[in-house]
Symmetry: C2
Subunit: 253 residues, 2 copies
């Protein structure tokens, strides 16, 4: 039967179409995906329209997690892929579903696949949470896929991938140690505060530079220990600065 | 840019959901498919619901061909693939979209991909027109895909395949000679009449046996000349029988 997909969250950010949500629940159930997480929905998740399209997947609508923001949706996730139609703010290469999605399936830890709003996709701030980016290839200048269709294509690829991967995976112990998103966020915040403090970042350049830094670490797949190590370094830098300030003040006195 | 998909017809048999038709038009346009053929629709093809889901693909709804029966939809097609969720009546192996669909893309002649009714799929009689059969792999016991989602997955695979295939194809001359479906149908009818006449087939066994025969010829990808040859044989058999009957009658006189 291949690998399970139970560890993969399908995360919808502010969807506005109830028909889409119902269709997504259905195709998720078809393809063996069980975890639907909806960030700040702009329509009824369990109303008549969603229920009608879900058909025999109403259980997925009922067990869907509804959360106020993306960080909450990603709690505990070690690998995050964002879907996007455009390559605006993303300097890293866009991958196809077939290239990117095995990364989620191979994991034994919680992972997430992000889908943005029907009209405007994911914001730059939201894209930053991802370690990889995928775009579904289209064959015409009309590139705007329906949200439910985009999820269907990805769910299909996830299922194909799962059926090809043997359930016994190498690197399980290694990967179980990868730090989840919220731990990385704590680190990024600490880093940004420090870099602003020390004048490496300025308020008007901080966002752009932090993005580049985040990309490095996201790609690196940091372990818990490594995050602790990096945070330890930051604390140490802080301490050194504070100590230096104290010394300097004392010298002035 | 790869190969064009303009020669591939997406044929929907008696669809009943206008939302599905609109979604299908949209994803077809996304993926560079241009030919939508609808057999005896059970809902409004260009009404409010279909139009709303089509968004910027309303042109595909307007140019969609609406036909009364499947043979009309398949006129001129040399390769036909039927989609099915079940393997009931099909003894030939079911293929995945990835295995089967290159066969349509590689062709330079009209080809067709058939999708059945939302609730009951394609009938055994309709399945018989196909040379190959595909089933979208699912990952759970809930195997019934939404029609528009099934088309989306296949359209995505067709587009992937087209982008991988160079526009210059071998076998073009060879394949341009493959007999279209309606020519084969003429042959099958002639064959069945003859086989009934000669007592090889009986009315209660004819359908089953003819199916097996059709499968052989569909797989063989007959050329125009080969169909003419086979029909010539049938005519000759007929002539021989009639002549024998005349001779026999004369003897009795």
């Amino acid at each position: 039967m291949g690998t399970s997909l139970n560890h993969i969250r399908i995360v919808l950010v502010e969807p506005a179409g109830a028909l889409n949500i119902g269709s997504i629940a259905r195709v998720m159930k078809n393809m063996g995906l069980t975890q639907l997480v909806i960030v700040n929905p702009q329509c009824e998740v369990r109303g008549e329209e969603a229920t009608r399209m879900a058909v025999h997947a109403i259980d997925l609508l009922l067990t869907a997690q509804i959360v106020p923001d993306l960080p909450t949706a990603l709690q505990g996730c070690t690998r995050v892929i964002a879907t996007t139609a455009r390559n605006r703010a993303i300097p890293t290469p866009l991958e196809t579903p077939r290239q990117a999605l095995p990364w989620l399936v191979e994991s034994t830890q919680p992972t997430a696949l992000l889908f943005g709003r029907e009209d405007s996709g994911l914001t730059n701030a939201e894209l930053k949470y991802a370690g990889r980016y995928l775009s579904i290839p289209v064959g015409s200048e009309y590139s705007s896929l329906n949200l439910a269709q985009a999820v269907a294509v990805c769910a299909y690829e996830l299922q194909l991938c799962a059926s090809e991967i043997a359930p016994d995976l190498p690197n399980v112990q290694l990967e179980s140690d990868v730090a989840p998103v919220e731990l990385l966020e704590g680190y990024y915040q600490q880093l940004e505060i420090l870099l602003l403090e020390i004048g490496y970042l300025f308020p008007h350049t901080a966002a752009h530079r932090m993005e580049k830094l985040r990309r490095i670490y996201n790609r690196a797949q940091l372990s818990h220990n490594e995050v602790a190590l990096l945070r330890g370094i930051l604390r140490q830098v802080n301490w050194a600065i504070e100590t230096a300030q104290l010394t300097s003040n004392r010298n002035v006195d």
